[in-house]
Symmetry: C2
DNA sequence: AAAAGTGGTAACCTTAAAGTAACTTATGGG
DNA sequence: CCCATAAGTTACTTTAAGGTTACCACTTTT
C-alpha cells in the first residue's frame, strides 16, 4: 500500500489531494466570498454534518488553504478565511467550472475559454 | 443521503466526479500520449490492480472520456484511446499541474501561467 | 441557578472504493 | 489437442471516508 510511486510526483494528483475531498470545493467556494464563521458555513452547506465540516476545515487548514481565527467573545466566535495560497486556487476552480459549462453548452471538444 | 442539493448544480464538483477517481488522472495522462492496450496501461501504472484498472476504464468509457476498441486478433487486443471529449480535458489537467508547480516554485499566491 | 448559543469532541456505525487471489474466455501456434 | 497470452471476471476482504448521535466547555441572558 505504500508503493504509489506514480502518485508521488504527479502534480495533478497532488492538487486533487488538496481539493478532492467530498466537500472541500464547496467550502472553498463559500469562503471565496467572505470569511465565515463555523455556523455560517454550516448554514450554507446544510447537508454536511458538523463533525465532517470540522474535519474538512482542519484538513484545509493543515494544507494551508484556509486559516482559523478564534475571537475571545460573548458566545464563541471562530472565523475561517482563505489564505493567499487558498485564494490562488480560485482561478483554478473557476477553470474547472468553466470546462464543465463549456462541455454542456457545446456538443463537445471545443476550445475552453478561461473565465476572467 | 439524497439531499446533496448543493452538489447537484456545482460544475466544479461535477467535473471532479469525472476525474476525481483514485487513478483516473493517471490513466488519462497515459492515454494522452498514445492510445494504449490494457496491458500497456497496466505496465505504466503497476500499482493498480487489473480489477480496478478495468473498473476505472469502464467508468471513463461510460463518461465518454475514452473509448475501447477490440480487435479480432491472435492474442486478444483491446485498445483504449481518448475521445475528443477526453482530449478536451487535457488543458484542464495541464492547468491543474501548472498550478501545483507554480505553487512549489514561488512562495505562494502568484499568478498562474497557463501551459501551452 | 438554569437555559441557550456557539463551536466543537468522542464513540460508534455504514458504505463505497480499493485490494487480493483465483478462475475464465478467446485465439493462434506448435 | 494442449498450451500460452491478453484481457478480463468473480468472490471475498480491507480500508478509508463519511455519517449519526450524544455529550462537553465557555459565556451571557433570564
Amino acid at each position: 500500500m505504500g508503493n504509489n510511486l506514480y502518485h508521488a510526483d504527479c502534480p495533478a494528483i497532488e492538487t486533487l489531494a488538496l481539493i478532492g475531498g467530498r466537500w472541500k470545493v464547496i467550502i472553498l467556494h463559500v469562503l471565496s466570498k467572505h470569511a465565515r464563521r463555523f455556523g455560517e458555513i454550516n448554514v450554507r452547506i446544510p447537508s454536511i454534518s458538523r463533525k465532517v465540516l470540522t474535519e474538512q476545515l482542519r484538513e484545509l487548514e493543515a494544507d494551508g488553504l484556509i486559516n482559523r481565527k478564534q475571537y475571545k467573545e460573548h458566545p464563541q466566535k471562530v472565523e475561517y478565511a482563505l489564505t493567499d495560497f487558498g485564494k490562488s486556487l480560485c482561478p483554478l476552480l473557476a477553470y474547472i467550472s468553466a470546462w464543465k459549462k463549456n462541455v454542456e453548452g457545446n456538443s463537445s471538444q471545443d476550445i475552453i475559454q478561461l473565465p476572467d
